[in-house]
Symmetry: C2
Subunit: 317 residues, 2 copies
Amino acid sequence: MNLTCDAAARWLQERDGYLILTHKRPDGDTIGCAIALCLALRKLGKTAFVLPNEDATALFAPYWGDTLAPAGFSPDTVVSVDIASEGLFPKSAENYLGKVDLAIDHHPSNTGFAQNLCLEADKAACGEVLYTILSQWFPLTADMALPLYVAVSTDTGCFMYSNTSPNTHWVAAALMETGIDYPAVNKRHFRTKSYIRLRIEGRIIETLERYDEGTIALASITLADCAQLQATEEDLEDISAFIGQLEGVRTAVTIRELHPGECKLSVRTGPELNASKVCSLLGGGGHAAASGCTVMGTVEQAKTAIMGAIRQVQQHG
Amino acid sequence: MNLTCDAAARWLQERDGYLILTHKRPDGDTIGCAIALCLALRKLGKTAFVLPNEDATALFAPYWGDTLAPAGFSPDTVVSVDIASEGLFPKSAENYLGKVDLAIDHHPSNTGFAQNLCLEADKAACGEVLYTILSQWFPLTADMALPLYVAVSTDTGCFMYSNTSPNTHWVAAALMETGIDYPAVNKRHFRTKSYIRLRIEGRIIETLERYDEGTIALASITLADCAQLQATEEDLEDISAFIGQLEGVRTAVTIRELHPGECKLSVRTGPELNASKVCSLLGGGGHAAASGCTVMGTVEQAKTAIMGAIRQVQQHG
């Protein structure tokens, strides 16, 4: 059944024994929503916990508090936040496949896997949906406002991405008015880079090649780079977006040597070039604006292959 | 005389023949405020122009429209926006020293140089003050909302800096609701770097040295780097903030070789070290958290000098 935020708020008030699920490789939105909902339900006098997520990184460690469910906790009501499909359940949540009572989400692609769905697909962050639900119960306090601010700010790149709407800003203002330390959140999530991450970005800049008057940019990271810098997957997260910020670039290619003789390529393009067509020539695919493929060979061979594919699509469509 | 926003709105309605001044090395806040005020005054039926500013960069070129004053325009009323003192007048405004009828500002340090002052020192951007004034007249239209969004977003680093307040977000939301293309503004000002700027950042990363378990970071840019990359002052703007984003860094030193044998140093520190004391040992000074000095010598000699000064203040206070 589809529930409005009002109806979801009433539905939640009528039940108890909550376990809240977050998605695989959890981000600030799913984690922030889970913590805020848990604290709000407890303020209503309910028993509520968040299911520990084995993928959670240290970046969000400061926010959990005492919300994590103890081993063996047996819930009466299971709620998922910011999860679009059961395929996005973390390993720890596998026991709850087919058993979610209410999904609260903002993804238009939500598969309807839960008994009940509260979906607001026009919201940039699931945190905005949670804000509407929780505000039905009481004015939010700082302990709940902080994780929701994390949710809303991280899902919009600190109000920078095009998904940001006036509502995102209204919600941010209301959360900030509770007196939370939002400068600390902004510093932690948007103004801090690890030494290794910075060195990787330096390597990307060094390897940068430009073609067609700077509209095509190509960068690479080798196995040797990663080994030398002791880079983890976390350090490399979203690295393919890095060269997209370069002024004038319409096509950005990031080549990552995954194993000796095997490179993973990420291709991001403007509307004048179909990234999916380019990558499909090399056995990959994806979306028109962002696709990927794997090339067996060295970084140099991968460069030649992807430039050849780009030229072919440029000439023949 | 000090005017509230209400009073400033009435004062502006009673006069005509407006010339609007922006500050030296104009940023998005002063430029955005000037353009929005000019368009709003025109909508009230007034004659209004913005004084051309010789320091204005291409970054803000898309916003001027037809607001710039023609040569020889003789104003009846002179208004400054976001200017804290007459020392910040650009050359083109020197004729108006001592002749400003109304200053609209948000700097607590405003010297009161104008006949009348509308100052809201708790606002992150002067654009927030302008929003309040203009809203007295009519609901803002997109043509005025766009430059005000530029003002508010650029002065807060896209709502990331600690000066951002709930009011900043309320104003942003109201401006966005007029239908402006804010994703284009965000892309232009916050998600775009020039090739030269990126290469300079790459050079900074290469030269990075860390001391005291990574709490002290030191980076440099040489004359040769700047010559090789053909870097302009614009490319180097605010470069001393760059290494401050490094995780764990409490003291960030950026050394820039200005001339052969002359280096300019920027020092940013946390509360445990007084940057002004450090720099004063080398003949410079500034604020406790951000200071500067000049060292006659090579980059290597400047490094030795500043590390010596840091050690001395660490040990003796």
